[in-house]
């Protein structure tokens, strides 16, 4: 069974999983800057076996967007 999204995000940014709310977004906290965003995309690819292209990476800028992408991506797979 794959790791919860909150855990992957919290580990990447080194923040508390409790802080990973759906409304958390790119640039809202210092830990989620553009380089960390790249780290997060790599971490999501590794954790869930998805492929994130350039356009997708620009869309996945909130926890909600990531959650929806992974849910819909899994359904499509």
């Amino acid at each position: 069974m794959s790791k919860p999204i909150e855990a992957v995000i919290a580990e990447t940014f080194r923040i508390s999983p409790a802080a990973v709310l759906d409304t958390l977004a790119f640039n809202a906290i210092p830990e989620w800057d553009s380089l960390a965003h790249m780290d997060l995309m790599l971490a999501l690819e590794a954790a869930y076996g998805v492929t994130i292209d350039e356009d997708r990476m620009l869309e996945l800028t909130s926890v909600r967007a990531i959650r929806e992408f992974l849910r819909d991506g899994a359904r499509g797979a």
Binding site: F26, N27, D33, H37, D39, M41, A43, E54, D55, T61
Partner: protein
């Protein structure tokens, strides 16, 4: 003792950093000068805005401003603000909201600013930065209301105050020895060093570049660099000198730029090599992905051969050049044109050569005692000519250390800037970068060039970036090497074995750590100090 009176200089306006923009605006007022987040501004609009701000600052101060801070981040205000400072006859001093507020405050104090132009996204830090700052510079906030920031003893001009101001008609004259911009670079001691660059310095750069690349009004430039990085001056003023347009990129777009480049049909790309390295890692650099580019330039850190090759395939219609230069030599001073046939043989440690000096500049290799190196060996790269800045801002001691006189013939002495970079000269005349003078470290008495270890690591196809540091350091000498690598599918054990086969024991890393991405400093270069600190933190 009375201070000697400063001479009054009679100035007659001539060419300067602003004159190219003004000429382009006069010739093509309707042409696009700038695009920020989908909003475009014509030359005419940008000129009027900047003239209004320049007028407002001069009026409120009751005199011509000396230095104006630009506290904006990739916004219309941050670009128009630069023009407003220059139109007012002032030096512009870029500030950056991604820097710690305490650092910004130190820069404001050191630069002794008369005024600061602030965009909305930066204004949220303003109260903290101004705390304890005496005297407070005049504040110009074109996107805010003045009352949000008013305080006793503070002059604040906001949206409402600017509404009735007419554009500055007669621009105060500027001469080539005046300072166009003052930038702060990170000093090794942790105190930012100010580098004042004259109009004469930067005009030489602009003239070399516009001629070499034949820039025209049809060109569309990327704007990838933070404005606190001097390479941003290229993006703005090389474009504006010839009536071209500038497309400001936001941080995320930098990491995934294909759509941005394609949609805006950019013709000129200029960035740090970290961007193609990150794109390679993520598989974003696809052959033919950038058909609109005719010019691709990289500067700021060494350019790996693999990145040059991959970028050239992605931008098949583009010339690709590697530029080199510290802020003290005005943006860039050496360059090498990538040639898939000829260049690979010139590369050292898997890095593209930094090439030859710009026309009108001189480069030489000197040893520690400033004697020329003539045997083809490595030395400190030193550069002379019209792009050498006058010295460091209010630091005569540091200036005397880095800007030195070298006798090149019995009757001629030239003033050179010591770059602190180790280089060697290929018989073709191309210089190759070997590393920082201070990246040549001693490990248990052996002289070690960290760049050589990094090249050995990067030789593994899975490795994209590699940084070696001397660690642990005890009593000033390193006892071993630890390496950090990034890439995809790296096999640490195999990598260590491969490196061990190439390097002597004292150069072989005792540990190789795989990390997702390298920490970058505010200018987008790999931050070695941060890696060193990670090691220090684990002791």
């Amino acid at each position: 003792m009375t201070k000697p009176a400063e001479p009054v200089i009679d100035k007659v306006d001539g060419r300067s950093l602003r004159s190219g923009f003004l000429a382009s605006a006069a010739a093509h007022p309707q042409a696009t000068a700038l695009a920020v987040q989908g909003v475009t501004r014509t030359y005419g609009e940008l000129e009027t805005t900047a003239r209004i701000w320049a007028q407002a600052i001069g009026e409120a101060l009751g005199r011509r401003p000396e230095r104006v801070g630009i506290f904006g981040y990739r916004s219309e205000v941050s670009y128009a603000g630069v023009l407003a400072a220059l139109f007012g006859g002032a030096t512009f001093v870029p500030l950056n909201r991604t820097f710690p507020p305490a650092r910004t405050r130190r820069m404001i104090e050191a630069a002794n600013l008369d005024a600061i132009i602030v965009d909305q996204s930066s204004s949220v830090q303003l109260t903290e930065i101004l705390k304890g700052l005496r005297p407070t510079p005049l504040l110009l906030l074109p996107e805010n209301e003045a009352r949000e920031f008013s305080a006793p003893g503070r002059v604040v001009l906001g949206k409402s105050e600017l509404a009735g101001v007419s554009p500055l008609a007669a621009l105060p004259p500027v001469i080539p020895s005046d300072i166009a911009y003052l930038l702060f670079t990170s000093g090794s001691t942790g105190v930012p060093k100010g580098v004042p660059v004259t109009h004469g310095n930067v005009l030489h750069f602009i003239d070399v570049i516009t001629d070499r690349y034949g820039i025209t009004p049809a060109d569309r430039f990327s704007q990838t660099f933070d404005q606190t990085f001097d390479l941003s001056v290229f993006d703005l003023f090389v474009a504006w000198e010839r009536g071209a347009s500038v497309y400001a990129m936001q941080p995320l777009e930098l990491l995934a730029p294909t759509r941005f480049v394609t949609r805006n049909e950019l013709t000129v790309w200029f960035s740090v090599p970290s961007i193609p390295a990150l794109m390679r890692k993520k598989g974003f650099l696809k052959p033919g992905g950038f058909p609109s580019l005719r010019l691709s330039l990289f500067c700021g850190e060494p350019l790996p051969v693999a990145s040059a090759e991959a970028w050239q395939q992605a931008a098949p219609n583009s010339i690709l050049e590697n530029l080199y230069g510290p802020t003290e030599l005005t943006i860039a001073c050496l360059l090498h044109r990538w040639d898939p046939e000829r260049s690979p043989a010139l590369c050292v440690n898997g890095m593209v050569p930094i090439g030859r000096p710009f026309p009108g500049l001189g480069a030489m290799l000197l040893d520690d005692d400033l004697r020329p190196i003539t045997d083809g060996g490595a030395g400190e790269l030193c550069v002379c000519g019209p792009q050498t800045v006058p010295g460091y801002w209010q630091d005569d001691a540091k200036t005397a250390e880095r800007f030195v006189s070298v006798r090149v013939s019995p009757s001629i002495t030239v003033r050179v800037y010591r770059t602190g970079d180790r280089a060697a000269r290929h018989p073709s005349g191309d210089y190759v970068y070997l590393g920082r003078v201070d990246h040549q470290i001693k490990v248990l008495g052996h002289r070690v060039e960290l760049g050589e270890i990094e090249a050995a690591l990067r030789a593994d196809a899975a490795v994209v970036e590699a940084i070696a540091v001397g660690w642990p350091v005890e009593e000033g000498t390193a006892h071993g090497i630890v390496a950090f690598v990034s890439g995809s599918g790296i096999d640490q054990g195999r990598l260590l074995e491969a490196v061990r086969a190439k390097l002597p024991d004292y150069m072989t890393p005792r540990e190789i750590r795989v990390i997702d991405t390298m920490p970058l400093n505010p200018n987008g270069k790999i931050d070695r100090n941060a890696l060193q600190q990670r090691l220090d933190g684990t002791r």
